[in-house]
Structures are given as C-alpha cells and as structure tokens.
Amino acid sequence: MIPLNDATMQLLLLALLVLPLLGSAAVLLPRSPTWLGLGITGAVLAAALLLAAGFDHDHPGTVQAESDVSWIPALGVRLHLGVDGISLPLLVLTALLTFLCALHTHVRPPGGPRPAAFTSLLLLLQAGTLATFAVLDLLLFFLAFEMVLIPMYFLIARWGGEGRGPAAWRFVLYTVLGSVVMLLGLLLIGVQGGTFDMVALAEAQGEGLGHTTQLLAVLAIGIGLAVKTPMWPLHSWLPDAHTAAPTAGSVLLAGVLLKMGTYGLVRIALPMAPEGMETFAPYLGAFAVTGIVYGSLACLALVRTGAGGDLKRLIAYSSVGHMGFVLLGIATLTHTGVNGALFANIAHGLITGLLFFLVGALKERTGSTDLDTLAGAGGAALYGRTPRFGGLFAFAAVASLGLPGLAGFWGELLAMLGAFHPADGLSRPAFLTYLAVAGFGTLLTAAYLLLVVRRVCMGDRPAAGWAPEGPEADVPAGAETDAAGAAAGGGGGGAAGGVLSGLLPDLRPVEYAAFGPLVALTLLAGLWPAVLLDLTDPVVQSLLPGAVR
C-alpha cells in the first residue's frame, strides 16, 4: 500500500523487537513518566501498522523486511528476522492487544505493588511474543518462546487474584517442561537438517531427515507446542492461570501467548517434518476434537446455576475448545484447514481478548466474576443496568460462538471444511468422525455462550426501589469511586444475597477506546475474510506444496 524501501522495512521490524526491550528498562528508571509505557506500546503499534502498510500484499508468500546477521556462529544461530503473510497478522494483533492492555493499565493501574514494574513486564512480554512471530531461526524461536515465561510468571504471581501463586507455578512448569522437550525436537531437526534456518528447512520439506527423525521431532516439538496451545489433555494449567491473572495478563495470555503454540506448529512442524506430521495428524485431530467437546462441556458445567462458575475460568475453558478448532484445521494438512486454523487463531485473539477485557471491566464494576454472585437465580440483567456494556458483552459472546458475519465463524467453518476432505494419505472416515464431533461441539459452544448471555445480560428488571435513589445524573459522577471501591473490596462488595443492586456505570470513554478496535476488527474479519485469507493462503501454499486442497 505504501511503498517503503527494504532498509525502512528492516528497521521497522527491528524497532518492533528493540523498542519494547528498551522500554521495559526505561519505565523502571526513577522519575520516568507514567505514560511512558503507553507511549512505547503506541509507538510499537504504529510501527506494526506501518509495517503492514509497507508490506507487499501482492507477494505475501515471500519473506519481507528480512534481515539476516550471524550471531552465534558456533551454534549456527543467526539473527534472521522477517515477516510473511502468516506472521504479519499475528504481529499486528500482538502490538494492538499490548497497546490496549497498556491503555487499560494506564487508566486503571492494577491493584498491587509498583505499577511501573507491571508495565515493564508487559513490555518484556511484548518483546518476547513479537520476537516469536518475527524470527526465522529455530534457536532464536526457542529463545523468544522462553522469553515470555518470566514476565508472565510475575504478572500472574504478583498482580493476580486468588490462587495466583500455584496458578503461576503451574503455568511456568507446564510450559518449561514442554519447551525443553521442544528444544530437543528443534535440535534434532537442526542437527540432522544441517541448519537452523527456518526458511531453508521449510523449503527442504523434510529432505535429509529420516523417517524416525521426523517422527521424533514432531513428537517432541508437538508436545512443547501443544502445552502452550493448549491441547487437551495438556491444558490443565490454562484455567487456573487465566482465572488468577490480572486483566491485562489474561488478555495477552489468551490473545497472544496461546497463538505461539499453533503458529509454531504451522511454521515449524508442518513444513519441516511433513512425514512426521502425516503420521501424527490423526492423533492431533482426535485430541483436537476431544478438546472442543471437553471445553464446551466444562463451560456448560460452569454456567449452571449454583455451580459456582467463574466467568474468567469459563472463558479459559472456551479457549480450550476454540484452540481445538485451530488444531483440527492444522491436523487436516490441507490448505483449507490450515488457512482456517490461522484465521481462527486471529479471530480467537480478537474475540477472547475482548471477552477478557469485558470480564475485567465487569469485575471493576461489581467486584466479582463469579456467575452465581453476579447473576443469582434470575440473572445479572446487564441489559437493564448498563445497556451498552451489556450489549457489547452479548456481541462478544455471540462472536465467540461463531455467528456468521463475525470473525469467529470463518476459521471454524474452514477447519471443519478441511476435515471433510483431509489430505491424501489421511483416513477420511476418521476425519469425518472428527467433523461430526466438532459439529456437535459447535452446538455445545453455542449452548453455553447463549446461557452465559442469558445469565449475565438478561434477567429480571431490577426492583423499582433503586430507581429514585439512583438518578441518571448521579451515577456517572460516582462511577469512578464506586468501581474503585468495588474492586478494592473484592468479592464481598456489591453482591449481597447473590443479586446486585442498582445501576452500574456504563462504558467509559477509555473503554470505548480499548474495546472499539477489537469490535471493529471482529466485524471486519467476519464480513471481509479475504483480508486475512489473501495474506495467509500464499504462505500456506508454499508450506504445504504437496496438498491439493
């Protein structure tokens, strides 16, 4: 769109990685202004958008903004960076979500020690995630993959809610155990393939790697990435981590960190060890659809009245289901399926990011994310209490269940379409079964999300008693202190008897600013899926040259 020369593009990509790193140190300096973190994430977002604008959209299949410098010749590690059609959307998504989180943090500093340290960790996390999507060297990928651990651990362990300590430990231990196993797989590919360069290895399509090597490599790499994704049955760190994490942590965990797993599968396992992938694809598919049904059933159990379900935990389980669709799409080994997977990846980042923001905002208003506390037997009646907020919540839930016209739809449809006719060599009956199970999963997904909407947004009109006390003019003025008080007061705040009372503050300007872009992009991707598919499809074609569909 905007013609930029190569050097500028390289600099932009480099800035994406270096700015957050420098920023994370800068915000810790004494007397650094509080808006500094926000400014840096804003600059990173601007760089990412500029990068997207300068990206040659006619050739998304080629690596652009490429820089390739030797770093550790002893290990064959090169600072090889570049973007193509599948990493560009993820880079923009990461930059956007981090910016929105920084905005949210700036306006509502998390309760806990030192907001500057929080921002610093946020920036460190951003550097790691952006690097994961931008590097083209296996060992650098591993380095970036590990880089997010420490900041995320501290974000959960220091600023999290109830049960944060064990949740943070679980997150770190699962991921580390997975990633050291993944390192073995990466080394196996690198040592046997003779290079750690991801572009060269992808072009080789597993040539030079024996069948056993490919099997072992896919198994090892797959386990590491499946923990991160997370794939059932390796998901059990996720609900706790999400429930305990602060809002910004949850958003980034769901919106960006989970994507690192599926991105790795598409970028590394799929092209570099095709034979191994072909062997394991049916198992991956089976685990994927199990995850879909398992996630939905867990959500259905949580949404029941009296189950004590937590909204954050529910959305976390719904992530297990949604990532199941992504994995199913990858398992089909078809262009359709993998494109669907990549689409669902982005869509899940947008929608689940939005949902976690909304739940965070709800917690600020009511002091609780517990469904029973919020809704009681009747319903929380957000439509009545805070109409625009309630409407937005319903919008996000409906987008999450995959309503046509919104972003959630296309990815899941394409993944299932891929399963209808999987790649040659894969058992079609097996995948048809997966398709049926996944289809059943979409029904369950719709069921629990509609139940959530029913319990949170609808409900009896609040009793007439409050109306005279709470005139319209009074509420916005007192909103700030109310919300702060409720947030500080924790679950005990405004939830006497299981039913809330009174009006809740509606959306604030900063919330419009934070949620607006996500809503707009959800609509855009839903109505005009080509904007993403045109980017990813050429890359998928080159990653899977053998597939016909």
């Binding site: 550790i72 002893a74 290990l75 651990l149 050291v180 196993v181 390192l183 080394l187 040592v191």
Partner: protein, 498 residues
Amino acid sequence: MNLVQTVEWAVIAPPVIAAFTAVAVLLADLFLPAARKALLGPLAAAGLALAALSLLPLRDGDRSTFCLPDDPALCAYSADRFAVILQLLVLGGAFLTVLLSIPEANGKRVPAGEFWFLLLSSAAGAALLPAARDLATLIIALEVTTLPAYALVGLRRGSGAGPEAALKFFLSSVTATAVALLGIGFVYAASGSLFFDGIAEGLDEADPRLSTLAEAGVALTLIAFAFKMAAVPFHFWVPETYLGAPLPVAGYLSVVGKTAGLAGLILVTTEAFPGHGDLWGPLVAVLAGLTMTAGNVAALRTDPRAPNSAIRLLAWSSIGQAGYLLVPIAAAAYTEEGAGATVAYALMYGAVNLGAFAVAAHVARQRPAHRVDDYRGLWARQPAAALAMGFFLLCLAGLPPGVIGLFAKVAVFETAVDAGLGVLAVVMAVNVAIALYYYLRWTAVLFQPAPHGAAEPDAPRRLPAAPLTAAIGLAAGVGIVLSGAPQLILTFASGTLL
C-alpha cells in the same frame, strides 16, 4: 641419553606467578604489623590478576614446555587453547573468590595470612592442572589443588562444623586419590607410558592379555576424577563441606575445584584413553544422568525456611550442574567433536555461580542464617543486589534474560543429540525443568514483599562491602556481555580444543 629438559618460563608463568604470590603473601604476613594485614587481600588479588595477564602472550595456544629431549613431541606441560582457557577460568574464579573473601579474612575469625596462602596455592595447582600432559603432573596438580582446600574448609576459628567437614572431605578425597593412583599404575603397566599421547598409543598396541588390566585402570582413573567433580555416587561430601566451609571457600570449591576435576576428566578421557570410548562413554553418560538427577532432586527438596538452605541449595544445584558438564564428555566418546561444550558451559557456570555466591555472601553479612527466606524483599531493600541475584539464578536455570545460560545449555543438548544420546538428552531435559523450579522459586522470593514487622536490622551497613560489590559487578558484567555475545565462549563448543 640427555635428561636435561629446557624450560620456557613464560609458558609456565600462570601457575608459577600464583605460587610465588602465595609464598610472598605468607612471608608478608610474618613481617606486616597487625594493622596493615588488610593489605594481604589486595596483594593476593593482584597476584592472581598478574597470573591471568600472563596468559595474554599464550593466547594462540601453540606453546609447550618440559618436552622430552629425545622426543620433543612428548611434553609434560602444554599451553594449548584448552589449557589457556581453563587457566583463565581458574584464575578468574580464584580472583573473584579473593574479592569475596576480603571481608571475611579481615574479620577475626580466619587467620588472614594462612588463608590467602592456602587459597593461592590451591589456585596455582588448579592452574597447572589443565596444562598437564602426563599422568604424574596431573596427579600432582590435582593434589596441590585439593590439599590446601581441606585446610581452607576447616580454617575458621570457633566453628564446630568446619573441622568435621574438612575431615570428611579429606578422608573421602584421599581415598579417591589412592584409587586414581592404583588406576594409573594399571594403565602404566599396560601402556608403558605416563604421557597421554604415549598412553593412547601404548594402549592401542598393548598385549591383548593386558586388556583387562588396561580397562580396569581406565575405569579406576575415571572414578577418581568423578569423585573430584562430585559426580554421583561420589557426591555425599559436597553439601556438608559447603556448609562447614566459609562461604567464599564453598564458592571456590564449586567453581575452581570442580573445574580442576573436570579438566582432569576431559584430559584422561579424550587424550589418554581415546581408544576406550566404548568403555568410558557409557560410564560417563550414566554418571552424568545420575549426577544431575540426584543433585536437582535434592535441591528441589531443600526447605527454603530451614537454616543454611541457601548454601545447601547452591551445593546441591552445583552437583546438578556438574551433571550437565559431564554430558559433552560422554558425547565426545561417540563423535569427533571433543568436549568443547563442557568448557563453554564451565565458563558460563563459573562466572554466574561465583556471582550468586557473592550476593549470598553479601546477604549473609546482615542475615547470617543463610536461609532462602532471608532473601524475601531483597528487591525492596537493595534493588541492584536483587536484580543481580535474579540474573545469576536465571542464568543457572537457563531462562531469558540469562541468555548465555540458555545457549550454553543448548550447546550441551546439541552434543547429546548429535552423539545419539537421546535418553540422556531427555533425562537432562527433565532435569532442566526441575532445576528451573527451585531457581525460579528463589528468584520469586527476591521480589516478594518483605514480611511485615521485619525492619532492616541495621540500616548503616546496607551497602555491600566494596570488594563484594566489585565481585558482584564483575560477575554480572561477564554474564551480561556473554548474554549479548554468546559467541565469545560458545566458539569453544564448536571446534575441537585439544
């Protein structure tokens, strides 16, 4: 037969300078008035720095001396790249130890002159060891390294644990030496030479009827060096010795003592017994797996609230790290790569482990119980010390921002994968994850808020003593530079050093 060997003094300068400084310090101690004894520490540090500087002319790694007059290829002392790099590590480690010890030695609990003399003597032996190219020199160097160490462990006045730990250390170590001498005797009998090159040739051409003798000799020699390295099952002396010893001495043993054992092991395996790789390869691999597992599991079980838990944890974790260090040696039996990754890892480990000991020494000045829990709230009290400690621990764990720790582990993993030691690689992967748990737990403690009501006991002593600051800064500087440019040490991992 010409028995006179030529000696190039410049080549043997590093150990000789260290040894001369040791004697000089001991003499100076006799003549200096008590008020001036504080000068001894800087003198020792300067000697070690000078010894390290004398490595500069040798950096090409092509010099050797003490060669046989009628066979100039057989030399007892070779300053090749392997030797020079390990001498740098040993002398650098000893230098950091001196910095760490200055506050302790200036106190009244340790006789300063004797302490510096013993430390420098041991460092001289450790500097001699990697350059040794025959078994006699090797054993002498090893004993020069360890004999003063026993005394160092038990030197502290009024400490009940010190002498007992020293006795335990001494008895078990002497047993190992005896075993080594027996093994060397067997090897000499089978091969007819004490020079590594001669042994390698001699064992290949040995009478087949002597093969059992040769193999027994190889195995016994290995066991002795495994002992010095604190490999499992010869590791039991480590935790008690570390606990009984003054903290800097524990740090010294964990880095310099370990490097000495390691260098000896690399030399005898890859230089003297290259033909017996099928024997020592699996042996070292099993030792590596057992060592890292036992060390890490014991570290994991250390209760952070118990007294001395910080030292105990560092001691056990150093056994775990010794296991990683053994992996490339085991892999060297199967490939032509050599054990360069071990050297690279040892360099990383030496810097950051001494750094961790330096912070521990600093914290112990205010809270002498050596508990991991004493580090709670360090970030609030002393952000720089907390950041440094966090960095060292993450380097040891191998997680960013400790990039060098990560890549050193990657290099070790790579040798295992390359050599086809898949099982060992998986065992190591599990161990890395276990180790991460306790390192990260400690890191997390640093940043936790201090418990309520536990005010700083004496605010005026908040700044660490200047030598400790220098040691922490030096170690952190090395770690940070290496994290930015890992090639500086990983270059040793790629080529063959010997």
